[in-house]
């Protein structure tokens, strides 16, 4: 909302200009990055280990090989992941159960990193409805996922919206600190990341709903704040991984629905 105001101010009132610049940036790259996921869907599940690179390099992240990666749950089941390539490690036996707490342990270069995440109970995604917001003469489409938040507090969600199979980058996050136990009312703008290419009638819209563990929600919320142009002083998002690695380990539920824009 704040961004809408700012954008409008910049566009309408002032002669603002934007240009690419060169900056002499400090380089602290080479940090371990953990991108681990477990879902309520059938496995295998993946943990990706990479290293961060300097800002000026291309987005090619060196794979971390030779790590010992295990995931266990509170019942004592344990699975040692096998290396698949490109820094990806894959489970072999693990089956997920909503409500269980999963613990990730990564041992690499003599250092140990641990994290745990609770797989939330499943909240079904019932349907999608279409909405539109008028900005002057321009119509922006929006989609509203219909689901009923459970009465118990502490649920949070992330929605990934795709247009014709291409997902956009916006972090659409919801916490039940607002409208706990109610049918969702919030609609999300449908944006095509490919340089504001217009979204049109007949486009296929897919919404992927993730039910998140609270620390993971906090992680994404921090990421959303520093990604937006609100001017928040950026910092690494609070990670649920101990030991000083970047990234996060997320146990989340997944539900998907599609619709065609009318």
């Amino acid at each position: 909302m704040k961004n809408i105001i700012k954008l409008l101010m910049l566009l309408v009132l002032f002669s603002s200009c934007e240009k690419e610049i060169d900056l002499d940036l400090d380089d602290r790259s080479g940090a371990l990055v953990i991108d681990g996921n477990i879902t309520d869907q059938p496995g295998p599940y993946y943990v990706q280990l990479t290293k961060s690179v300097p800002f000026t390099q291309t987005n090619q992240y060196p794979a971390v090989t030779g790590a010992v990666v295990t995931i266990s749950d509170q019942t004592g089941r344990q699975d040692q992941l096998v290396y698949e390539g490109n820094g990806r490690y894959k489970t072999t036996t693990l089956t997920s159960v909503p409500g269980n707490v999963y613990t990730l342990k990564v041992v690499v270069d003599g250092k140990t990193y641990t994290s745990s995440s609770r797989l939330p109970l499943v909240v079904p995604l019932d349907s999608l409805t279409q909405d539109s917001i008028k900005f002057g003469s321009e119509v922006r489409y929006a989609v509203r996922p219909i689901y009923t938040d459970p009465a118990t507090l502490g649920n949070s969600y992330r929605f990934i919206i795709s247009v014709n199979g291409k997902s956009n980058k916006a972090y659409n996050l919801v916490t039940d600190n607002i409208n706990n136990g109610k049918v969702n009312q919030r609609a999300f703008p449908i944006i095509n990341d490919d340089d504001l290419e217009e979204v049109n009638k007949g486009d296929q819209i897919t919404v992927e709903m993730h039910g998140l563990d609270l620390p993971v929600y906090t992680y994404y919320n921090a990421l959303a704040e520093i990604t937006g142009r609100g001017g928040v002083t950026p910092a690494d998002p609070p990670s649920n991984v101990s030991g000083g690695a970047l990234g996060r380990f997320s146990a989340h539920t997944v539900a998907k629905k599609s619709m065609v824009l009318k």
Binding site: I5, S16, D26, P54, G136, A235
Partner: protein, 728 residues
């Protein structure tokens, strides 16, 4: 009239009128010649013969042919003779000709050209004083606090110059009658209105138009002034097919009246109402604004005792409405004060003049609350609190050369009942306190000593030193750099402790060439406790209790300020330079280590000049340079979920490129013998088109896949303006 000089000819006896225009002078019986003077006005001389107490009111008229002075010193050598430290007074008449963005003369922007006062962003009316945050400035309009002094996201201030008499700013070493903010007091006074004849003045500019009417209600006894301003960018929007449903404007209304009951009593009533409105059809709408009202009673109890009683109301609120399909969603928030002040000035004798008084404020803070079909799971509670203070201070002339101002303020802040308070430690709830309505909760009491000393080392120079403690009980929560109208005020509570600052300063002033040139140097060290910041990834709107999202720490700021002024002649102006450092240490941020505050700018230079080319033409120019803001740049990047994420290291360890620009303006005042006078002002902001960074954003490069880039956003290259002003 504030700070007019009343002097006895051929003697050293002289006093300045106080902020209510009152003065008292003890004289031996006999014949004296009294000279009353005020910058920009003709001096008045009167011979008196004193046999008993004598009460004399003066009326000064504006001089026709006086040189314009840029900063009006109340007395030619005021900087040497007063113990006040870190204080600057701006005469609104004197700043009229300075170039400004869009031609909207703005006292909050002009003060940013003074040493120790820094802009928070391009074109912004927000400012930082000696390393303080924008909310650590007490901004008063006729004694009423203004909680959000900006329009249109800070590009304009709420102060319409046409309605203002003068403004002064005290950078931390304020006398004991002021309190409640750490860094500064910005005291803005509205015009009283002419009690002799009716006048209209106004202006037409590119952004807004203004109109003021003033005149007597009863000649000699009472007067009024009404002043209004409205922007009209939205009228242009209406012409565009795309934006014809859009709303985008703000307006201000200032009004003041005064009535003289009898020789010793006078009542003033003043008010301000301003609002910003922004919206698209019925899809989205937001509006915000301040309302203030002051009723003031000045009473001369006897020739030595003067009383001022004020009842003050202040309100700031905002509303946001979003409508899409069947969803109707709103957020609103409010802060409201009722404030009673009683102040006495007692002119005890030639050596002592005493100020004492009390202040009692009832605060109501309504945090952002959702309305419509969306509701918060946790209803955020309204908070009430009670802030009280008593103070006493003494202007003590120890000798002709040595003057002290010694004072103390006792401030007491009490949380009032009507809700449940959760106590947090580093965001983790540890306890709860339920308070019934009307019950008194957590109370903080602080003694705030204030001290300044002025030693007149020679006829033309003086040395000053000062110490002040300031305590702040209300805090503005905002995590963005620019400041948003939706930033919320929050009161001290069980979790949030009052902010406390101790400031030490020393100064040296020297005047040259019959006080025509003035040089002031001041150094300061300030330490701040209980500073507040959001934790990383804070939930500002959705958190059940926003206090769970806060972290606390301390701050320190130190610096050296220098200003050299030329006060008369065809060429007037000043050069100011500030060398400073400002740091914060917040537990939970930057590994709890010290880091540069965002407003830390090592060097800050302003050059301001006005040149009277001829009777008709006046040229004015300014140049500013400052070190870029302290910011945090990425130190690497990685990928999560297939999306690029930037890696960050030390907070605010990087710098935006340096900021500089030059503005010019020219004012044309054709000679007119008629009552009607018009003038034109032409100006250009940022004349050499410097692209100063407003923000730098890091993002995936859409043109070259698999790479990232840094994009700089700049505002305001060569913004011209033209304004027509008139009065009759």
């Amino acid at each position: 009239m504030i700070g007019a000089t009343v002097k006895i000819q051929n003697s050293t006896l002289a006093v300045s009128s106080n902020e209510y225009g009152f003065y008292s002078l003890l004289l031996p019986q006999g014949k004296h010649t009294v000279v009353v003077s005020y910058t920009g006005y003709n001096a008045v001389t009167l011979n008196i013969d004193i046999k008993a107490n004598l009460k004399k009111d003066w009326e000064l008229s504006t001089g026709q042919n006086l040189n314009e002075v840029v900063i009006a010193s109340v007395r030619k050598d005021q900087n040497l003779s007063s113990p006040a430290m870190g204080t600057e007074t701006l005469n609104i008449k004197a700043i009229e000709k300075l170039p400004v963005l869009f031609g909207e003369k703005d006292v909050l922007k002009t003060i940013q050209l003074l040493p120790g006062i820094k802009s928070t962003g391009e074109g912004s009316s927000g400012f930082s004083v000696r390393g303080g945050a924008a909310d650590q400035n007490l901004i008063l309009l006729d004694e009423a606090p203004v909680y959000n002094a900006s329009h249109l996201l800070g590009f304009f201030s709420t102060f319409n110059s046409d309605a203002l008499k003068d403004a002064s700013i005290i950078k931390g070493n304020s006398p004991a009658q002021y309190g409640g903010r750490l860094s500064s007091v910005m005291d803005v006074k509205m015009k009283d209105g002419n009690n002799q004849s009716y006048h209209v003045n106004g202006g037409i500019g590119v952004i807004s138009s203004r109109l003021s009417v003033e005149g007597p209600i009863q000649k000699d006894r009472s007067s009024f002034i009404v002043s209004g301003r409205r922007t009209y960018a939205d009228l242009f929007l209406k012409l565009s097919e795309d934006f014809k449903d859009s709303k985008l404007y703000f307006y201000d209304l200032n009004a003041k009246a005064n009535y003289q009951i009898n020789e010793s009593n006078r009542i003033y009533v003043s008010g301000y109402f301003g609002r910003d409105v922004l919206g698209f059809g019925d899809t989205f709408g937001t509006d915000w604004g301040n309302t203030t009202a002051t009723v003031r009673w000045n009473s001369i109890i006897n020739s030595q005792l003067f009383s001022n009683t004020s009842l003050i109301y202040s309100d700031y609120n905002y509303n946001i409405n979003l409508k899409s399909g069947e969803t109707d969603f709103g957020v609103n928030s409010k802060i409201r004060d009722w404030n009673l002040k009683q102040d006495f000035s007692y002119f005890a004798n030639a050596k002592h003049s005493i100020r004492m008084g009390m202040q009692s404020i009832h605060h109501l803070l309504k945090p952002s609350t959702f309305t419509g079909t969306v509701s918060a799971t946790f209803e955020r509670q309204q908070r009430r609190s009670w802030e009280n203070a008593v103070y006493v201070s003494d202007d003590y002339k120890a000798s002709e050369a040595l003057i002290f101002n010694v004072g103390a303020r006792l401030s007491v802040f009490t949380v009032l009942g009507g809700g449940t308070y959760t106590i947090f430690n580093q965001g983790v709830p540890t306890d709860m306190v339920a308070l019934d309505k009307g019950a008194l909760g957590k109370t903080y009491a602080n003694i705030e000593p204030r001290f300044t000393a002025n030693y007149r080392a020679s006829e033309m120079s003086s040395i000053k030193a000062g110490y002040a403690r300031n305590v702040q009980y209300l805090h503005l929560l905002g995590n963005s750099t620019g400041g948003n109208p939706t930033d919320q005020w929050i009161a001290s509570s069980y979790t949030i402790k009052p902010e406390i600052a101790d400031q030490f300063s020393i100064g040296y002033s020297k005047n040259l060439n019959d006080n025509n040139y003035e040089i002031n140097v001041e150094g300061y060290y300030k330490s701040m406790r209980n500073q507040i910041d959001f934790k990383n990834g804070a939930e500002i709107f959705a958190a059940a209790d926003v206090e769970s999202e806060l972290l606390f720490g301390k701050g320190r700021a130190y610096g050296l300020e220098l200003i050299a002024k030329k006060k008369s002649g065809k060429l007037t102006g000043w050069i100011s330079y500030t060398l400073s450092k400002t740091e914060r240490q917040i537990n939970g941020i930057n590994n709890s280590e010290w880091y540069n505050a965002r407003q830390d700018k090592t060097h800050d230079i302003s050059v301001v000049t006005t040149y009277e080319l001829s009777r008709k033409w006046t040229l004015s120019g300014l140049f500013v340079y400052s070190t870029g803001n302290a910011v945090t740049y990425p130190t690497g990047k990685y990928e999560i979920d297939g999306q690029t994420v930037f890696q960050y290291s030390n907070r605010n360890a990087d710098r935006l490129p340096a900021y500089h620009r030059m503005d010019l303006s020219a004012t044309y005042e054709p000679k007119s013998n008629k009552r009607f006078q018009g003038s034109w002002t032409f100006g250009i902001y940022n004349i050499y088109g410097r692209e100063n960074p407003y923000s730098i954003n890091f993002e995936d490069n859409p043109d070259v896949p698999n790479t990232t880039r840094a994009m700089q956003v700049s505002l305001f290259k060569w913004v011209p303006n033209v304004t027509y002003n008139f009065k009759f």
